[in-house]
Symmetry: C2
Subunit: 110 residues, 2 copies
DNA sequence: ATATTATATTCCTATATAGGAATATGTCAA
DNA sequence: TTGACATATTCCTATATAGGAATATAATAT
């Protein structure tokens, strides 16, 4: 068996470095495929294919404008990742009180 | 070409759901392999193999005690994931001021 | 020395990619 | 309708798994 498909799980989709770049490149603004091609310097099919994966997993939304397709980030899909990793931040961060409580809560929550 | 190895990149290592479980199971306390086997209900080789990956990528530390091997989380290795995803939290969170500033900063930083 | 306990490793297989190259599809302009 | 532009898709291949089964290694006890 191989890994769970990138097209179903945000964790997996984001495990690919180029897709993280793509997500970050979009940031706030809606961009066309060509704008992303220029911005990132990849070839067009690469950009389209990675956008396809991100779209399937729901990390980006697409809007058609003439012959262009505008993509924008759907940041809420990143929420599960943030929520999974955030509790651990307490561990390496200096600013915490009562580590034991934090960790107990963390374990209870999942 | 396939994906970048799970043994080199925390994002990739954590893309596997069972490894996330494992990390969470360890949480605060150091646990032996057998304790993890019982806790998670997997077979022993599965636990050992996933621990092996986590160890290679630096997400856990191992300590030998007699015939046992005690594993504990090295949470700092999760920092890059937190730092990558955290800025996006501003987007879906209600409690933010001046989204434009946040996003501009986000883009500048990488 | 031998059995037992604890854990790691090896072998095998099905499968999911990521990237390159080439091509197809869709849309607009003249 | 023909060409140019914008984007998606298909085909191909090398490779990295994850899981199961069986086995190996290591350490302790008797």
């Amino acid at each position: 068996m191989a890994r769970t498909p990138t097209t179903h799980d945000p964790f997996n989709a984001v495990a690919e470095p180029r897709r993280r770049q793509l997500i970050q490149a979009m940031g706030e603004e809606e961009l066309s495929v060509n704008e992303l091609v220029e911005l990132l310097g990849w070839n067009q099919p690469s950009v389209s294919k990675h956008l396809g994966v991100l779209k399937q997993v729901g990390l980006v939304k697409e809007r058609r404008v003439g012959r262009q397709r505008m993509y924008r980030l759907n940041a809420e899909r990143l929420k599960p990742i943030f929520e999974w990793v955030a509790p651990f931040e307490k561990i390496w961060s200096e600013r915490f009180d009562r580590l034991d409580v934090v960790l107990e809560k963390m374990k209870k929550e999942q």
